[in-house]
Structures are given as structure tokens and as C-alpha cells.
């Protein structure tokens, strides 16, 4: 199956630039997560590929089929693109049975009755829905509805399947399970999949590659691990994971070293972008799980007041304070001694932007 290529797609809605020249490529069998906060343009991008939104600029192709070429005035209607789309609300047709929901696309393609029967049965069996074929959508649970929506989207073998927040309507427990089987299913089908989500954990778990969008542009693109451990921008660093943010100013700068002054202490960190200048403002970001309790003074260790310790089940979360800066940290056990604790911000884990 051919690649999906999106080039320089831009969308304007009511004078507002929703998407500013976004490009990416998806190869068969690859799951790409479109991740970003609300308003970042991720759903718009998905809808552009589906043909439900009209970009004023850009090209979208699948192999040698051009779906969109704004420059040449080519724009295939949604129904001519032959893609599969799973809606956030599932959008099952309430007046049709499960079987008919799935069969509709095949009927549109004028399949023979036997062929339709065979394919729909196969698709339903694959998702464990065989016994529900004659039910109506409102008679199904949320998880079952989601499976029907997915069956409906892949039954006609589209080269690319688009998923708009496919898990967000499931309750938390079901969501974790669904994540695993959805990934397996897409893998098995050998489809390219584009999956919109605002949940970074979901994006990292589900996808082979993550496209992090912010304000209509791709902020960073890469494998989940790269995105998490090697963020290029402050936004990427703060969007992924749970973080402490330390506002300060650059005291000195050297190759691979940045000294960040926060109130009365100086921490050493890793400079993460070229715009930093000595004396200029900077932001330190450190993942909460990287903040450590220390037992003796040393470099990058700061005395902080323990405000409270919260029990989270598998660990404790500590709320710490020094002057006007607040820091969160995890600990296996609640600290036994004193309200004042020594906190270490490991140099390699403290990113300075």
C-alpha cells in the first residue's frame, strides 16, 4: 500500500489561521498520533485528510492519487477519497443495525449480497461483535459502539484509517485495554493510521510516531521516546510528562552547561536552545519523577520546605517550597525528618529553555 503524504497544508477559518503549513508522511503499518492541546489544529488536520475541511494551501496524496492540490485546484470530495474515519462520538447511524452500519459502505460500492455478507461477518468477527449484528447502536455499550465504528471504517479496506480521539469516550479502565487491542488491530490490518488525541500518554502508547502540534504548526515530530526524553522546545518539554517549571535568569553559559539563577540559588542545567543569553530570562523544566531527595549537601541540591505530602497509592507526592518557587517531587516513603529537605535537581535532567 502506498504512503500518505501531506505537504504544506494550511487552513483558515473565519480569518483565523487554524493550520499553518503542516507536512508529514505516513507509511503503511505505521500509526501516527496527532497530539496537541485543544485549538492546536490536530482535529482540523485530520479532517483535511478526510476531506471534511477545505485547506487553502497544500497537497495531500496517497501514492499516485492526489486527494488535494490547492495550487492546481484539485480537491476530491470526502466520499471520493476512500479513507476510513472513526469519529470521537462514533457517529453510528441510529436507524441502522450494526450489520447495516458496517455494510453501508459496501452497498455504496455495489458489492454483491454474498460478498457484503461475507465481508461484514468477517469484520464483525474480527472485533468480537458477531453476536451483536442485528442490534441497534443504542442497544450497545460504549466499548461495543467503538468497535462497530472501527469495523465500519476498515471494512472496505481503506489505505489509511483516521481516528478522532477514538478512546476518549470510554471510561478509564476500558481505555487502557482498548489502547492495546487497537494498536494490535491496526498493525494486523497493515494500515497507515492517523490518530488524533490530546492525551500524551495515549499518544505515546498507541503511536509509532507522534506529531506534536501547537498553534497550527508541528512543534516537534518523532518517536514517542524521543519526544519525551529529548524535547526541542519549551512547549514540547512542558506538554509531555508532568513537570516542574522554574522561572529564572541565565547566570553563565558554556558548551553544554547553563547556570540558571532562581531567586537566591543557582542550578546547573542543560541548555536546550540557541537563543539563551547570559543575563537573559530563562525557564528550567524538570520532570517531576527526576526530582530527588538528597541526604547531604552537594551541587544542584537545594534546601526546601515540605508543605505537604500526598499519598497517591504507589508513591507519595511532595509539595515543596522555597521563597516563591514551588516544586513537586515523588517519594516512595513520606520523609521522616524535619520540614526542611534537601532536594536534588540532577544536572542532565534539568532542561533550560
Amino acid at each position: 500500500m502506498p504512503d500518505l503524504v501531506v505537504e504544506n497544508v494550511a487552513v483558515r477559518l473565519g480569518g483565523v489561521e487554524i493550520l499553518k503549513s503542516v507536512s508529514f508522511r505516513a507509511v503503511p503499518g505505521e500509526i501516527i498520533a496527532l497530539l496537541g492541546p485543544s485549538g492546536s489544529g490536530k482535529t482540523t488536520l485530520l479532517r483535511c485528510v478526510a476531506g471534511l475541511e477545505r485547506p487553502y494551501q497544500g497537497r495531500i496524496t496517497i501514492g499516485d492519487r492526489t486527494l488535494l492540490d490547492a495550487g492546481r485546484g484539485i480537491e476530491l470530495a470526502a466520499e471520493q477519497r476512500g479513507l476510513g474515519l472513526v469519529f470521537q462520538s462514533y457517529a453510528l447511524w441510529p436507524h441502522r443495525t450494526v450489520f447495516e452500519n458496517v455494510a453501508y459502505a459496501l452497498r455504496l460500492r455495489r458489492g454483491s449480497a454474498a460478498e457484503i455478507e461475507r465481508r461484514v461477518t468477517e469484520a464483525l468477527a474480527r472485533l468480537g461483535l458477531s453476536h451483536l449484528a442485528q442490534r441497534f447502536p443504542h442497544q450497545l455499550s460504549g466499548g461495543q459502539q467503538q468497535r462497530v465504528a472501527i469495523a465500519r471504517a476498515f471494512v472496505y479496506e481503506p489505505p489509511v484509517i483516521l481516528l478522532d480521539e477514538p478512546l476518549s469516550n470510554l471510561d478509564a479502565k476500558l481505555r487502557d485495554e482498548a489502547r492495546a487491542w487497537l494498536r494490535t488491530l491496526i498493525r494486523d490490518l497493515g494500515l497507515a493510521a492517523l490518530c488524533v488525541t490530546h492525551d500524551q500518554v495515549e499518544a505515546m502508547a498507541l503511536a509509532d510516531r507522534v506529531l506534536l502540534l501547537n498553534g497550527g504548526v508541528v512543534e516537534q515530530e518523532g518517536q514517542p521516546k524521543a519526544l519525551y526524553t529529548d524535547p526541542r522546545t519549551l512547549f514540547a518539554a512542558e506538554f509531555m510528562g508532568i513537570n516542574n517549571r522554574l522561572d529564572g535568569m541565565i547566570e553563565s553559559l558554556a558548551e553544554g552547561h547553563a547556570r540558571l539563577r532562581i531567586e537566591d540559588v543557582t542550578l546547573e542545567g542543560e541548555p536546550r536552545h540557541d537563543g539563551l543569553a547570559t543575563g537573559g530570562p530563562a525557564v528550567g523544566v524538570i520532570r517531576v519523577e527526576h526530582v530527588r531527595l538528597a541526604d547531604a549537601p552537594g551541587p544542584n541540591r537545594v534546601a526546601m520546605q515540605l508543605e505537604t505530602a500526598m499519598y497517591l497509592g504507589e508513591r507519595y507526592e511532595l509539595a515543596l517550597r522555597r521563597g516563591n518557587w514551588h516544586v513537586r517531587a515523588y517519594a516512595a516513603e513520606p520523609p521522616l525528618h524535619g520540614p526542611e529537605l534537601l532536594i536534588e535537581f540532577p544536572r542532565e535532567a534539568l532542561w533550560v529553555f
Binding site: 476531506g51 466520499e79 476512500g82 457517529a91 447511524w93 441510529p94 436507524h95 458489492g111
Partner: protein
Amino acid sequence: MAAADWTTAPSAGLGVAFLRVPAIGIAMVLVLCPILLVVYQSFLSDPFFTPSAQFTLDAYRFVLEDPDFWRALWTTLALAAGMTVIAVCIGTVLAFIMVRTDVPGRSFLEILLLVPIFTSAVVLAFGYVVAAGPVGIVSTWVKDVIGVVPWDIYSLPSLIVIAGLTHVPHVYLYTAAGLRGIGSDVEEAARIAGASPFRVALAVSLPMVRPSIAFASVLVFFLGFELFGLPLVLGDPAQRLVLTTYLYKLTNILGTPSYQLMAAVVVVIILIAAPLVALQRRLLRDAGRYVSMRGKGVRIEPLRLGASRWLALGVILLWALVTVVVPIGGILLRSFVVSWGEGVHLLDVLTLQHYRELLDYPNIVRGILNTLGVGVIGGAAAVACYTALALAVHRWQSKWVRVVDYLALAPRAMPGIVAGLAILWIFLFVKPLTPLRQTMFSVWLAYAVVWLAYGMRLVQGTLLQIGPELEEAARTTGASDLRVKRDVTLPLVRNGMLAAWLLIFLIFVREYSTGVYLLGPGTEVIGSLLVSLWGTGAVDLVSALSVVNVALIGLGLAVALRLGIRLHA
């Protein structure tokens, strides 16, 4: 079949353009032609079809120099303003009582409150005359008790009060809808702070629905301009004209039909009504925005009134007594008695004679059948047309959507009687249509055009209840625009269409003014027959026929309630 063939659906047969072009085209012709024809006629010296007709401003000169016109204009203004004040004051209070308090019997009262909307204004007017006129049954009773009748039903204040009372439901509906969008927490907060229920209504609830009230006020003021039945019946003996009745009287002012004068008056009416329609549109949008801000799922806890809820019930029942029971009861009673007056014992004069008499007039029998026909068949046809037009622009991103919006609104600026006149001219003017003038088609067309805005709102409201993703899902699986409408949109709105049909039935059966100029052998409907029979003074027939009209509407209402259809768009 090769696997690749499954990917894209075969290209669709008919494009959606095959729906859009004719639907929008026909709507445009039907809406614009009458308006343009009226404007054109107003600048001519003679009827537009006579060869001697020339361009002139004489018609305007005549109308604007006619003192009767100015009197009619001022009367209309006074009537519209007065009834607005009355309707808004009572309507908002009733809405508060109904929506926010624990007044007993709310579900029954809700129906009672809607009755005047679905009752023909001429029927109500006849009802007031036979019940509270100089020799009316209520007047007679009152005179027996206190010696005099303390009101004159034919005076301007009476007309204003009656018009105001019968338009309370309009204000009630919009205010109530607004109030339902507010959570009770704001009211509870005020009560805990020490406010009485009455203070809560005045200081918290009603100010929060100000946009709804503003819309309802403009709507009622506008309806005041359109008023025809009430001033025709109640203003006639005192020779008091409003713009619509002035127009009606112009028909015979000069012996020959003075088309250009009528057209000039119509243009004046449209010029006044159009900005009001535009204002309504804006206010409705504002009101909608205001309510939708509150999000979904607001909890409504009725305010406990304690003993004073019986007082609240009394207020509503008093309104219902004056607005529903007196006129409808009056006309009902009148239709079963030979006559009444001082000293007549009702039991002695009971009769079914008037109903038997109805059957003696073939045109009345035809009128009843025609009314049913235009309601049932015409209603269905009208809903089909509205649906075609609504579907044509449904989920369409184009500037044409706005065009259709305004197109649907344009006939609102023409009171029914005016639209009827314009359509009559179209039938006279377009030769291929002339044979149809004597058929119910002409009446149906006029009704369908006059109620275009209402019908479109009904249908579009239903269409908008379908989540867009249901249609998008069909698009992405490979269905063309037209296929989506057929396979997804229409099946999902079937119930909504049924409701629209029933509401249009009620409206078409109630309608009277639009058919006035189209009335002729073959085109009789109850509404226009009532107007013309009243002119001949046949009170017996009018009463019986009015009851038939009310009964038909009652039947429709019963079906609607049985099916659980919401009675307002």
C-alpha cells in the same frame, strides 16, 4: 471484483446540484415575484395588465395625502405599542410562574396557554363580539347584575387589551424558553440572601432572560402591524381602521379595484415591517447566544410559593378566562342558540339549526373540505417543499445559504392579506397560471409562501438536531452528498417531519387573511369564508362555522399532544 475497487465508491449518479438549483430557484421566484410585482404596481397609474398603465407617483401621493391613511397608521402604532406592553407584562409573569414555581396543574395550563396561538384571530374576535359585545351574553349578565355594561368592545382600548391578551402566549413561549436555560442556583442564592419569590423574579430571573423578552417584544409589536382579524371585526362598527383593514377597504373605495393604491399601501407596510423582521433576526440570535452560554443539563428546582401558589394559579386562570373561555365559550354557545338578549332563557332557544344550515350552502361545505384538504394534503406538500429547500442548503458552506435565509424571511414582511393579494396578481398576470386561479392550488401556494419562514424554521430546527458527524461518517465511507441526505439525514428526521406536518396543518387550518383576496368559487376556505360571511352579518352561520374551525384545530392539537409533539418551533 478486484480488491482495489473497494477503496473508492463509484462516482455518484445525481449531484446535489440537481436538488439545489431547482429548490433555490423556485423559492426565489415564488418569494421575489410577488414582492417585485407589488413594488412595480405601486408606481403605475392603472392595473399592471392594462395597456394604458404609466409610471407615476400618483398612488403614493393619493395614499400619503389621504387622512384616513394617516389615521390608520397612528391607530396601528398605538395598537401595536399598547398590545406589546400588555402582552410583555403578563407574558413574562406567566412564564416565570409556569417555569420557575410549583404552581399546581402546570401541564394542563401549558396547553391552555397555547390555545390562542392556534386559534384563528377572527374566531376570537367573533367570540368577543358575541360574548362581550353590546348584546353579548357576558354583557347581558353583567348588565343584569350591576345595571350597566362597563366596557365598549368596539373602543380602541378594548381592541388593544384584547390584542394584548391574545398575544400573551407569544411572549410566554420565548420567555419560558429563556428561563428554562437558567439553572435554579442563581434563584436559590437570591432566596437565601433574603428575597421573596416575587423579588427573585423581578431582580434575578427576568433580567437574565432580557434578550428573550426583547425578542418577544419586537415580535409582538411586529404582529401588531400584521393584525387583521381583530381590527376588522372589532374596529369596524366605529369605522376605526388599521393599515391592513385600510388596505382591505381600499378594494372598493373607487368602484374599480384600485390596484396601484393597494400596492402603495403594501409597500408602506413592507417598509415598516422589513426592519422589524431584521431586528427580530438579530435579537433571536442574541437570545440564543445568551442561553447557550449556560451549557447543558441545568437543574431546575421549582421555587416553592407556599400558599401563594393558589394566587399564581388564579392569575393564570383569570387570563385564560378572559382570553380563552369568554370568546371561545361565547362563540360555542352562540352557535347552539337561536338568539340571545335580555330576558331570553338559554334553555328555551337551544338549537342545532345553524349547523344544519351550514350544509345548505355548497360553498361552505366546499370551504370545510378545502380547509381540510389544504391542511392535510397541502400541509404535507408544504413540508415537503420546505424540506427540499432546507436540505438544499443543509450543511452547505456557501454564501447561498444566507441568500436562502433572507429569502425565507422576506415573506414575513408581508402580512398574509398582502401576500394573498400579490399571489392573486401573479395568477392574473402569468397566463399559464390563470386557469389555476380558481383552484385550491392558488390558496395553497399563497399559504406556503406566507408560512415559508415558519416552516423553514421548523424543518431546519429538526435537521440541525442531527449531529454533523453522522452525515460526515456517511461521506467518508463513500456516499455522495445527495446519497447522504437520502440515506442518513431524511430517515433520521422522519419524526420531526411528522411534527412539522401537524404544526403546518394547524397553521393552515387557522389561516384566514391570506385567502381573503383569493376567495372565489372553488377556493373557499373556512378562514376567508368567515371574513366574508361576517361582512354579510350572518352571525348564526359564522358562529357555527367558527366552531367547526376550532374543532378541527382542537382535533389537530389533540393528535399533536397524543404524539408528544412540541407545539412551538
